[in-house]
Symmetry: D2
Subunit: 131 residues, 4 copies
């Protein structure tokens, strides 16, 4: 299973008064990690939307193991964990150095511009099959 | 089971280029709903933090049933679904009128200022038992 | 000059590790205050966009006088401070009780769907003239 | 005048239903650019806060020249434009390739942990003087 890796720094705005990253920030990082996984796969997600498709999220979760702080350099490891006719699931692991901070999962359905579910575009299936 | 109800309007900043609310926005709304549930319970969460406690999130998830849009007036129905020695879980249902848009759940551990888990403060247990 | 007033509570996500509201949050509140000012004026901004117009921001500023905290109930006083052929400016004052926390200003140009500047829609000019 | 340069990609969450970056996102990018300017100056802003100082923002503004979109790679050019006894101002220019998208300015006062203004820490003045 290919692991897509992307690093980012925790932004000041992503912290809250508990002085750690806000729990909602992780879902933003998952989104950034997906964008970068698509790019590494050879497909820009922005292009996908220009072609009339979108990936509507149907489920998202996160387990928080340890907090992270402003300016921490964290790594997000992303895998495509499930491929169905019209949906994709991603698993995420968030690390600071070797320490696991959080794990997450999101599931997305391919939709057309009207928000109706459609089969996964051929091009994407091809790229995923090559992983 | 007492249902705490709170309504809010989807903000422009909470939308994304798919022209619906961003998936991470729901976790912000869950947080707002928790704050208001605590207030209705007779306890301001801000006071709880002033007294040296905090509620560290350990798990969060959301299932998305239907999208919502800018300026939609949505209602969040919150219940306290699990009470343990040092943790609380909340269930959420997001509605637009009678239509269910999303369901979610978060679990939180009571911690002291150093982030160490502690037993649920007596006062809170008392208020929850009275529901 | 009509003053549109709207109150909101500072959300947890809007705080940062300085334990006050993040400086960028004020621009979100200005946006919420504009939406509510339009509604009070008799015009839903969402409808305006459905009719093919949008208000593109060209300038935004904020002066910060005193910080605010999580769960503070703040009031935003909004006035339409400048009306030109194709642009509008709003002035904002943010209060906690009688205390002024911040002042701000934003300027917006009416655009069509392609982002080209257009004259202010007739209907809006009419509503503004009646203030 | 030293120009600190930092690049980032527009995140999906930073867009809004106008399908361009939300106006408040620019202030987040300014904050990221400041963090990176401090790092390049030889000083981590997170360390500064650990030592009991903070930089409270007193003024922020942005002029928007042209919109940017999801996944655009933008560069933020930051200069320290004003140095006073207890305050610092930063100027920002946001570019996509050679095209200027926005300019901005923020002013910050050095404060102690209680939020009282203090003189700029010696170490910082030294680093700034060396630019």
């Amino acid at each position: 299973m290919k692991v897509f890796k992307f690093s980012l720094r925790v932004r000041y705005t992503e912290t809250d008064q508990m002085q750690v990253a806000y729990y909602g920030s992780y879902f933003v990082w998952f989104e950034v990690a997906r964008t970068e996984a698509f790019r590494e796969l050879g497909l820009e997600y922005s292009k996908l939307e220009e072609e009339g498709f979108c990936l509507m999220v149907v489920q998202a979760n996160c387990q928080y193991e340890a907090p992270c702080k402003y300016d921490d350099l964290i790594a997000i490891h992303t895998t495509i964990s499930e491929v169905k006719n019209s949906s994709l699931s991603f698993d995420y692991q968030v690390y600071k150095d070797a320490k696991l901070l959080a794990t997450g999962k999101t599931t997305h359905v391919f939709c057309n511009k009207k928000g109706k579910p459609v089969r996964m575009p051929h091009k994407i299936r091809g790229l995923i099959n090559k992983i």
